[in-house]
Structures are given as structure tokens and as C-alpha cells.
Symmetry: C2
Subunit: 231 residues, 2 copies
DNA sequence: ACCTGAACACCGTTCAAGT
DNA sequence: ACCTGAACACCGTTCAAGT
């Protein structure tokens, strides 16, 4: 554990930092942040770590495991927010917002979470949500559905967010310009077939992601309260 | 448009079906259904269509466009369900269930929808949901958030569904055995850190995807009704 | 106008060989 | 125990050349 002198002797003798699982994951996160999901490559990662592509396989099973490990680090950090002495309803908002911020700063996170149902990163989140759902007074028999609904909504938003970021990267558009274009396209849809979409096209251009996300969370919470006596 | 005699002369003279955009999309759907998202390959598709890999590019821009076109065909079919003379609340259930069934039969659909926010397949769905939200009596100012919440929840469920199917394919597990394993893993989580997750581990093993999905939809609808006078 | 198939520039992963 | 880097079996995409 601590005998780093014998470990990584090859690299150490060249005065380089030790190649460990954690170093690799940190580098992967940096790469994902700077180049997006498609930028995470064993060759690029090896270059960044000044090693060979194959060396990484000594510490990590495969690309999927690496991607999950990276997302777990970010998720653990995000849900580590201390929940102040507030109502369960407010705690859910705080929690959801923390995850939203994490997905906003690391757009690949949403994509990663969608790829590993029931695995550690998602379970961390489910646990935290579930506890607040219970604290809210939702009957035991309905807590599973309630917590899953919050989780799936969050994952849905995260996935869309990831895709938006990826499109913006490829097309090199600012968020503003991207929404303008999309909103314009919506406005030109057939009036008979798409009345609703046309009616909200303006909303799309000027909407606040964060505020709408939180409004969605609260909508679900209200649905939960409906089944509680605590309305 | 109709002069198929001159079109595709090469293939026609060999007695093969015409290579058109639609033929390609149909073949792509068949390939996706049988081999999953990772099975959709220009080489495999070309083999299936008895043509060269490059020929496909004459009819389709690139792989992403092909994937979207395939998902749009399925989505258009799914939301084509006729809504009987029922309440908006029931119509939303019918609609959501139709999409759920489509994502269940074509697990790659959930993944596709997550990759193209604001594009045709998602917009089709948003439109249908939005109209029912309006019919439900949700005030105009809140329809955008309400419809998006339903949509995002649906996309979240679809994404998880796609990932589950993909894992099941790789590991060649039956759904039952997969859930057993996951449920067992949840039961062995640390009692201090994961009380909620442990408490629902049994639920995970025996839960009914479809029923839970619909319960989530109804939870959100109840939240919407809360802001409506029509409670 | 439509199709062919070789070629290019990538991937993830493996593995003998080194230290 | 850990690292190296060539090699393998794939990808998506392009494009000269054909009909």
C-alpha cells in the first residue's frame, strides 16, 4: 500500500508520477471534460499519462469500467452536498440541483448514468433521493415508485443535456444560437400537426434549463404529497 | 418518383430489390432488433442489402442520421395509437404505454431518443403529450414544464431500458436472473450507508417494469392536477 | 444517377517481451 | 508486479472508378 518505492519502479526511475487507478481516472475525467465522450480514447489517455495504451489495462478492466469509475467520482462528489436543516421537499431540490450542476459541468455524466442502471453511481443517487422521499412521509409501499420516478426524470434530463453538449461541440455553436435555430425550426412546423410544439417554440428559446428542471422536480414532489396526508 | 425502371438499374438487372432510403432504414431496424445498437454497422448493413458499404452513403448522410431515421419510424408508429374517447389522464397513460411498449420491443430506441434532443422523434412525442396536458386543464404558463417533465421521465426510463437490454445481451442473462443478481448485490450494501436501497432490494427483484412505469406517469399527472382547479 | 470496393484514419483490446 | 508497443480485428467515411 505504501511501498511506492518498489511500485511503479519503471516510471519512478524516470521521475514520473506513479500510474495508479486513481491517476488514470483523474486523467480520464480531465479528458472527458476537455474533449467530450468521444475524446476518451486509450491512445489519448496514454499520451496524457506518458505511457503506453496497454499499460492502462493493468489498472482498469476496460473502457466501460473506466467511464463508470469516472462518473462515480463526480457523482459521489455531487451528492456529497450537506443537506441543511430543511424540509424534505427542500432537500430534494438541493440534491437534484447538485446533480444538475454536476451534469452541467460534466455533460458526459448524463450519458454515463444512462449506461449503467443499478450500478454504483445511480444507486448512490437513488439512496439519497429515497431517504428524502421517506422523510417526506410517502407510505412505504409507494417509496420505490416515487424514488424511481425522481431518478428517471433526472436521468432523462441528464441524457438530453449530454446530447445537447455533444451537438454543440460538433457544430461549435453557442447554446444561445443553438436554441435560436431549434426554436425557429419548431415555429415552422405544420400548424395542423404540431399546434402544441409551435405554441411553446418561443418558450424554448428563452427558457432557463435550471429553473425548468427544478420545476419538474417539484411537480413530481407535489404528486407524491398528494398521496401523503401532509398536503 | 415512379420511374423505378431507370432507377437502380444496376441492381434491378440482377433481379434485386431497389436500394432506397426506406429499404435501408427497414434493414437497419431489423439489424438493430436482432443485434442491438452495436450491431448496426455499415458493413453488416451492406451485407444484408447485398451491396457495398459505400452505396449506403448515397441515400443516407451518415450513421447518426440512419439511427435517427430508424427511431423516427418506430416512434411515429408508436404514437399513432388512436386515443379513444377517454379523459386526458387516461390518454396520457395510453400514449405513454404505447411508447413504453415500443421501447421494450426495440430497446435501442431509448438510446436513440436520448441522442437527439429537439429532433423529430422527440418532438412528435412532445406534441402528443403537450396536447393532452393542455386538455387536462394545466394553465398555459405551466404546460411547457409539465410536458417536458413527462417527456424527460419517459426518456429516462427508455435509457435505462436500453442499457438493461444491452447488458443482458452481452452477458446473455435472462431478465429474471439479471434482476436476481442485482437485487442480491443491493442487499449486501452497507447497512449504514444504504438503508433505503437495501429496503427496496426485494422490490427490485419482483417489480413489474410496466406497472411501475405507469405509476410514475400517474404521479407526475397528479402533480399537474394539483395546479389545476380540476382536482 | 447510382453503385462498387479499395483505401484511409481511426478505434478497443491482447500479449509477448521487457524490467 | 508493472510497463511497453507492436499487432489484430474491427470501425465510419471517402472517393476514384465503373455502369
Amino acid at each position: 500500500m505504501t511501498e511506492n518505492v518498489t511500485k511503479n519502479s519503471r516510471r519512478a526511475s524516470r521521475g514520473e508520477a506513479a500510474l495508479s487507478r486513481d491517476t488514470i481516472i483523474d486523467a480520464a475525467i480531465a479528458l472527458l471534460d476537455s474533449s467530450g465522450e468521444s475524446g476518451l480514447t486509450f491512445r489519448a489517455l496514454a499520451a496524457k499519462l506518458a505511457t503506453g495504451a496497454g499499460a492502462i489495462y493493468w489498472h482498469v478492466a476496460d473502457k466501460h469500467a473506466l467511464f463508470m469509475a469516472a462518473s462515480d467520482v463526480i457523482m459521489a462528489r455531487a451528492i456529497g452536498v450537506s443537506l441543511p436543516d430543511a424540509t424534505p421537499r427542500q432537500n430534494i431540490q438541493t440534491l437534484a440541483l447538485a446533480v444538475f450542476e454536476a451534469m452541467d459541468q460534466h455533460p458526459w455524466l448524463g450519458s454515463a448514468l444512462s449506461q449503467a442502471p443499478g450500478q454504483l453511481p445511480t444507486v448512490r443517487l437513488l439512496e439519497r433521493l429515497g431517504r428524502q422521499v421517506a422523510a417526506l412521509g410517502v407510505p412505504a409501499g409507494q417509496q420505490w415508485v416515487a424514488a424511481c420516478t425522481l431518478l428517471n426524470y433526472l436521468l432523462g434530463v441528464g441524457g438530453q443535456n449530454a446530447a445537447n453538449a455533444s451537438i454543440a461541440r460538433v457544430q461549435d455553436l453557442e447554446r444561445m444560437h443553438f436554441l435560436e435555430t431549434l426554436s425557429a425550426a419548431w415555429s415552422q412546423l405544420d400548424a395542423q400537426e404540431y399546434p402544441f410544439t409551435r405554441s411553446v417554440a418561443a418558450k424554448l428559446r428563452e427558457h432557463d434549463d435550471r429553473a425548468d428542471f427544478l420545476a419538474g422536480i417539484d411537480l413530481i414532489v407535489q404528486g407524491m404529497l398528494h398521496n401523503t396526508g401532509t398536503r
